[in-house]
């Protein structure tokens, strides 16, 4: 027992660590010697006590308070705040997720016991400088905010501690909304408040948080995502297999003192760098073109594209040339690679990189990618790494947080649609080995990703296929009332907080035929509307989707498209395929048939059967062709 006794320990072994360890009883009294963290903890303890008293007073006075929920919230574990934002946010993260898991803990804490440490309640009062920390006014601001009924949100900036506290509280309310809500305030108001606070805390504009990030991520992932955007992703390299092998490169770099590892199972050319005494962008190996500094997620579109040797491949938005050079290396310098970019300044980077890496099969062009298909239509594979809002690479470029608005994103989406359609036109469906288009962006917004691919699916004869990447989150088939093609889950999404790589979206399309369905159909326009829903019209969402869906169902039943695969999709229960002008005529005919006699309906039925057989024949013939 002597060893366990603290004082005897100190006497026996007066080492460095034992000198640091203080007797627990000493800590409370020597308030001046405490670290900042514990000082603020004390301040909050005091404030907590004061609030408890004040709420009691308020309850007695009969003001409208949120009943038990508020009191319980106030006695909850306060977030330990520092002036360093990172620490506090992590605590929120842990605690919000913990509170999400079990309600039992919360009930316990009404007693006022601290989960983390136990302090005596008879602690001495601190000096004035610490008691003056404005936790009281923050709590007041919290209570006024939660008494929303008229929908007012306090946008005045409280300090960090109160911000974090308020964020934490709103999230707790939202996690168990029924029991903890204020009956007058709708859920939207809580979400708006949370969005405003998060935007304040992480320096985003509220549009991004409210209408983009909160739409995509559930509450428990929301903070993880925002936190991940504050931290850099690990540095990764790609070996240039035209000049060296990964093992040899790794040995050479380790010889220079770099600490690295293979990137993962899914790649044979990737390396992760943990630390490096030499500048990685200036080693002789880099200059000789043995490797490139490339993010892990930008390897993925090329992995999905899987270019084969002796193919003709187009990279429509090639700058700075990382993906183009990866394509060339997978093709082993055979075939032809078109590296195109619309910007004349950035195309030089492509040139430089391709030459340094020893790519000899590249044609570098400076065309607008929307016009490439006018001169060249027989590409086996096309990669469209479209210019995007960059909401997935916030960790690299924090200016995205404040610079992107809804207009920007919708404008980009329009451009991306044009690019993708042009790329599909440039691709040759009849190519022996290919006929694939890969669309990728480094953003997480639905408008730039699923919506664009959905538009392409409707306007061209293409279908989504599996990307070949076995990890990552699936694309959304429906989100917040918008509905996309049911195969959209074949597309892949990558997030910084899940896969620890930059946010990315990859979709692989297979071109079925070189035909274009006629543009300007009413059904198509409605389909566009469904994809195009504004968040402002949330109430009208249901109506539009139902109406759109219903009409689509009818058209799908009568749809006899040129490609057999679409009929297949109908069998699978796909009711989202848009029809063409012909389908309307068919609808009218059917209506007429219903009014006529039984003979008429029989004749119609016979016609339909004949047509079905006819198109089934065509479908089979096509299948045979594709097998060949």
């Amino acid at each position: 027992m002597g060893k366990r006794d603290f004082k005897t320990l100190q006497e026996k072994r007066p080492g460095r660590k034992s000198r640091k360890q203080k007797d627990p009883t000493e800590v409370q009294t020597s308030a001046k010697l405490l670290s900042r963290k514990s000082k603020t903890r004390f301040a909050k303890r005091l404030a907590k006590k004061r609030e408890l008293n004040s709420t009691e007073e308020r309850l007695e006075s009969g003001e409208s308070v949120n009943g038990k929920s508020e009191a319980s919230r106030l006695t909850h574990d306060w977030v330990e705040s520092d002036d360093e934002g990172e620490d506090t946010a992590l605590d929120i993260e842990k605690e919000s997720s913990e509170s999400d898991e079990s309600d039992g803990e919360l009930v316990e804490e009404e007693d006022g016991t601290d989960r983390v440490e136990s302090f005596d309640e008879d602690s001495e009062p601190l000096d004035d400088e610490y008691t003056d920390e404005p936790t009281e006014p923050s709590s007041k601001s919290v209570s006024t905010n939660l008494q929303l009924g008229g929908g007012t949100i306090e946008t005045s900036t409280p300090d960090l501690e109160s911000l974090t506290a308020r964020i934490k509280e709103t999230m707790e309310v939202l996690s168990d909304f029924k029991s903890r809500r204020d009956p007058d305030t709708p859920r939207g108001d809580y979400l708006d408040l949370l969005a405003a606070d998060l935007a304040n805390y992480y320096n985003y504009n509220t549009y991004l948080i409210r209408d983009v990030i909160m739409e995509i991520f559930p509450l428990n992932e929301l903070l993880e995502f925002l936190e991940a955007n504050e931290v850099d992703r690990p540095v990764t390299l790609r070996t240039n297999t035209l000049k060296t092998r990964r093992r040899e490169l790794a040995q050479a770099l380790i010889g220079r003192g770099v600490n690295l590892d293979p990137l993962g199972d899914w790649t044979k050319v990737g390396l992760v760098v943990f630390d490096s005494p030499v500048p990685l962008g200036a080693t002789p190996e880099y200059l000789a073109g043995h490797y490139v500094l490339q993010g892990a997620s930008s390897l993925l579109p090329v992995v999905a594209l899987a270019p084969q040797e002796r193919e003709k491949v187009l990279d429509a938005c090639a700058a700075p040339g990382m993906k183009a050079s990866y394509i060339a290396q997978l093709m082993r310098n055979t075939g032809v690679l078109f590296a195109n970019d619309a910007s004349k300044e950035r195309i030089r980077a492509v040139l430089g990189n391709l030459h340094r890496l020893g790519v000899s099969n590249a044609v570098v062009t400076n065309l607008d990618a929307r016009n490439v298909h006018r001169s060249n239509r027989n590409f086996d594979r096309v990669l469209v790494d479209a210019p995007c809002s960059g909401t997935g690479i916030i960790a690299k470029d924090p200016s995205v947080k404040t610079s992107k608005s809804q207009e920007d994103i919708l404008g980009l989406a329009a451009l991306q649609k044009e690019l993708l359609l042009a790329a599909i036109d440039a691709c040759d469906a009849k190519s022996r080995t290919g006929g694939y288009v890969v669309y990728s962006t480094c953003s997480i917004t639905v408008e730039e990703n699923e919506w664009v691919v959905d538009c392409a699916l409707r306007r061209r004869d293409v279908k989504l296929v599996a990307t070949g990447i076995h990890f990552g989150s699936p694309g959304f088939t429906q989100i917040r009332g918008r509905r996309f093609h049911p195969t959209m889950n074949l597309a892949k999404r990558f997030y910084p907080h899940k896969q620890n790589m930059d946010g990315f979206f990859v979709a692989k399309l297979k071109k079925l035929s070189n035909d274009k369905p006629k543009a300007g159909n009413k059904v198509e326009e409605e389909g566009d509307k469904v994809g195009q829903l504004n968040n402002n019209n949330r109430g009208e969402k249901r109506k539009l989707s139902e109406g759109g869906e219903g009409k689509k169902v009818k058209s799908a039943k009568k749809r006899k498209g040129k490609s057999g695969d679409k009929l297949e999709n109908n069998k699978e229960g796909n009711k989202e395929v848009s029809g063409d002008i012909k389908s309307k005529k068919r609808r009218r005919k059917k209506k007429k048939g219903d009014k006529e006699t039984k003979e008429g309906t029989d004749r119609l039925k016979a016609k339909l059967v004949m047509k079905a057989r006819h198109f089934a024949k065509k479908r089979n013939a096509k299948r045979k062709q594709m097998k060949k």
């Binding site: 050479a252 000789a288 075939g335 032809v336 030089r348 099969n361 590249a362 044609v363 570098v364």
Partner: protein, 189 residues
Amino acid sequence: KNLINSWQMRKLNEDETKTVFEKLMKYIGDNVRTLLERTDHQYCFRLHRDRVFYIREDVLKCGVAVPRKNLISSGTCIGKFTKTGKFKLLITSLPILAAYAKYKVWIKPNSEQAFLYGNSVTKQALGRITENTPSFAGVVVYGMNDMPLGFGVAARSTAECRRAQPISNVVLHQSDIGEFIRNEVDLLT
């Protein structure tokens, strides 16, 4: 010289071909023929604006469809014609030179960085040199791990190198791979 009008990819005319081949022969000697008579594919030289490209035939054919103004490069850029009509080899030609080089110089690991900054190779830095290198011959510089670093001109013949003092220059620097960082703008525009 009709260089201003050569906005298209065109074949080199006789004079231009002569200057280019003469320059190349300084580094790779008679192997210039093998550049054109390769067994796996047919390669050719083309002039685009003022730059000479070494392109494979199928790549060349695909590039033809692109409008002239929008075509930046095709295949590998070997070098460029200066305004006075002389031909200057660029570092981007290193893969070709290194593959067929006649006279080679290997430098010690410690002095690699010095060469990559654009300095000439001193006797101290010299690791190995091919036998019978004549003075002022075109020379390709390698690191000791056989990694091509650049090219230059031998200031001294092999025999003279042995007798030379440590500080004296052995290889006069012309081009090195550090130019990809130092000199990006001039390289490729």
